[in-house]
């Protein structure tokens, strides 16, 4: 019907249907440019995730009951022994191998592969401890300074300088934070390679993110809420505590989600400050005093991936370990992020404005 009508239309009316012009062509091209760019990013992310899920899944999951490789998740890293005994071939982690040898009563010659047996439990624990501790420090310091910057400070040169340095801090490479942490906390303060040194180093690294996002969310709170409470006889701090902070909290948490990902993932800052390549004790084992807890190094997932990939000879057994660790690592970061998002949603519901 449309075509039939078109024949009877005047040229002016036909012009409304449009003809391909240069501008339209460019429009199409640009649109495709955007689309291809987006799909390219998507493809990269997908290929990384699929690779890790596929190969890592083979380490973490297994075909027989209980379907999850419990030893991998709950054991410590060990040397893997690969050997043949009475016609059958075996792969065993060090501790199992010793028991096996004991029972067999003969000496068995095996090929050994460092770090390729056992599990990554100490790394999981270490990463969780590092994330929790450093986020507590970063949020405390970050929110305090954001309150100062957005509510108390007077605009001027000093404030500009503070803002500029925070911005610059955000651009500092993580390895610099690592060296700085080693210099200040590990050596100068004498904390040695320890949880607490790692906490502060990581906290300083994410501080700029936390500060600027917290300040942003506090500025977004309408002035009317502050005025309203001041006019009712609230002190400035009371007004902030009751009518600014609660409503800024969802925004602050959103910013900390980005921080969590960085804290959990960075290797460089903890390399010299908190991470051990191998440690037999779990953090709560063998403590003489309660405060020794803070002054011990831990294993961590990103550092473990680094050690297994860079520090030992590569072979099929180590790559299993690497992919398995990466899989668990992604899973944990996703888990922590999910918890923060749920927390944020709950807060948003409670404090809607």
């Amino acid at each position: 019907m449309a075509t039939k009508n078109m024949e009877t239309l005047s040229p002016e009316a036909l012009a409304l249907y449009g003809t391909p012009t240069k501008a339209k062509l460019i429009e199409q091209l640009v649109f495709w440019g955007f689309r291809v760019g987006t799909y390219f990013v998507l493809a990269c992310a997908a290929s990384i995730f699929i690779d890790i899920f596929y190969k890592g899944g083979q380490t973490v999951f297994q075909s027989e009951y209980p379907f999850i490789n419990v030893e991998f998740l709950t054991g410590s890293p060990q040397t893997l022994h690969v050997f043949e005994f009475e016609g059958a071939s075996y792969e065993m982690s060090d501790s199992a191998f010793r028991v096996f040898k004991e029972e067999a009563g003969v000496s068995i010659v095996s090929d050994t592969y460092a770090y390729s047996g056992g599990g990554i439990w100490p790394c999981i624990v270490g990463t969780l401890l590092l994330v929790i501790g450093s986020m507590v420090i970063a949020l405390t310091l970050g929110v305090l300074s954001a309150i100062f910057l957005s509510e108390y400070s007077r605009p001027g040169r000093v404030l500009n300088a503070v803002r500029l340095s925070i911005l610059n801090l955000a651009g500092v490479p993580s390895i610099v934070f690592g060296i700085f942490g080693m210099g200040l906390f590990v050596l100068a303060f004498g904390w040695n390679v320890s949880l607490i040194a790692g906490w502060f180093t990581l906290a300083f690294m994410v501080l700029p993110i936390v500060i600027s996002a917290s300040e942003e969310s506090m500025r977004a709170i309408p002035q009317g809420l502050r005025d309203g409470s001041l006019a009712l006889g609230a002190s400035k701090w009371t007004a902030i505590r009751t009518n600014v902070l609660p409503y800024a909290m969802p925004g602050i948490l959103t910013s900390s989600i980005i921080g969590v990902g960085r804290v959990a993932g960075e290797t460089a800052p903890i390399m010299f400050t908190a991470a051990y390549a191998l440690r037999d004790h779990l953090p709560w084992q063998g403590l003489e005093h309660w405060y020794d807890f803070f002054f011990q190094g831990v294993m961590a997932l990103p550092y473990h991936i680094y050690v297994v990939s860079m520090k030992i000879p590569q072979n099929e057994y180590t790559s299993r370990m690497q992919y398995g660790t990466a899989f668990v690592f992604l899973f944990i970061v996703a888990g922590i992020t999910l918890v923060s998002i749920l927390l944020r949603i709950r807060m948003r519901k409670k404090y809607r404005w």
């Binding site: 007077r154 009317g224 309203g228 409470s229 001041l230 006019a231 009712l232 006889g233 009518n243 404090y351």
Partner: protein, 278 residues
């Protein structure tokens, strides 16, 4: 607590009705402003303003935008302290005989005595109940019975009780514009001020809601001294006992409202109220 604030607190509450007195010209001055100059940075916003505001009367400030009426209002409870560049030139404001810009005056105590309702209604994103008791909670009052009593009394005082009594735990933001403004008034009443400052309280309200707030102002003046800034001259005529006309930061004329609207002394006042400028 300083001597000065004690003086503010210990104001004797004289119930005019109890004493059988009528509202008369003889009402004493509660707020006295004398030769008051005020600056925003280099720009002078108020020039040599002097006036007396009588107890238990409604005083209206009128004038074109930027004439300094809101500025003066915000000086009375020192909300202008929050503005970086704001400063006083000379002159003083006394409330109940106390120079409120004296260094020893506690602004927190002052603002409890001198409540404020803002142009844009600003209920907190809390429940209606929590909005009303906010001023009490920050004073550390936690007794449920006392808070419950205050909620009912203040919401009744603000003519809102009947509309919200069944949903006190819903958010204050769920109310209509007019209800929100009355909630803000209820909130201000909860801290039991002597003076209520209202900064264009009806400018964002429709005529019906405005009428309700005006009615409320009428009933409130039995117990409170009210200063209202308005750009609506009919409103000033309807609600106020006295009217002050400001122009370019100067107080041009202040008199009984009838007097101002029927036969103003000054030509500028007449020009403004007859709509020739402003």
């Amino acid at each position: 607590m300083s001597l000065v604030t004690d003086k503010i607190i210990s104001k004797p509450k004289i119930e005019t009705r109890d004493l059988g007195l009528e509202m008369t010209e003889n009402n004493r001055s509660l707020i006295e402003i004398s030769n008051f100059d005020f600056f925003y940075g280099e720009k002078q916003a108020l020039f040599d303003v002097s006036m007396d505001i009588k107890e238990r009367e409604v005083t209206a400030f009128i004038g074109p935008s930027g004439c300094g009426k809101s500025t003066l209002l915000r000086c009375i409870n020192r909300m202008n302290d929050l503005i970086e560049v704001a400063r006083i030139g000379s002159g003083k404001i006394t409330v109940n005989g106390v120079d409120i810009y004296d260094d020893r005056v506690d602004t927190i105590e002052l603002r409890k005595r001198v409540g404020m309702v803002f142009q844009k209604s600003n209920p907190f994103p809390k429940s209606i109940y929590e909005n009303v008791v906010y001023g009490l909670r920050i004073q550390g009052i936690t007794r449920k019975s006392k808070l419950d009593e205050a909620v009912e009394r203040c919401l009744k005082g603000a003519a809102l009780w009947e509309e919200v009594k069944d949903r006190l735990d819903t958010s204050g933001l769920s109310l209509s514009g007019g209800q929100q403004q009355r909630l803000c008034i209820a909130r201000a009443l909860a801290v039991e001020p002597d003076i209520l400052l209202m900064d264009e309280p009806c400018s964002a309200l429709d005529p019906v809601a405005t009428a309700k707030v005006e009615e409320l102002i009428h009933t409130l003046k039995d117990r409170y001294t009210i200063v209202i800034v308005t750009h609506n001259m009919q409103q000033a005529a309807r609600v106020s006992d006295r009217t002050a006309f400001f122009y370019l930061g100067k107080l041009i004329e202040m008199n009984a409202t009838d007097q101002i609207f029927m036969s103003p002394d000054r030509e500028q006042t007449e020009a403004y109220i007859s709509g020739r400028f402003g």
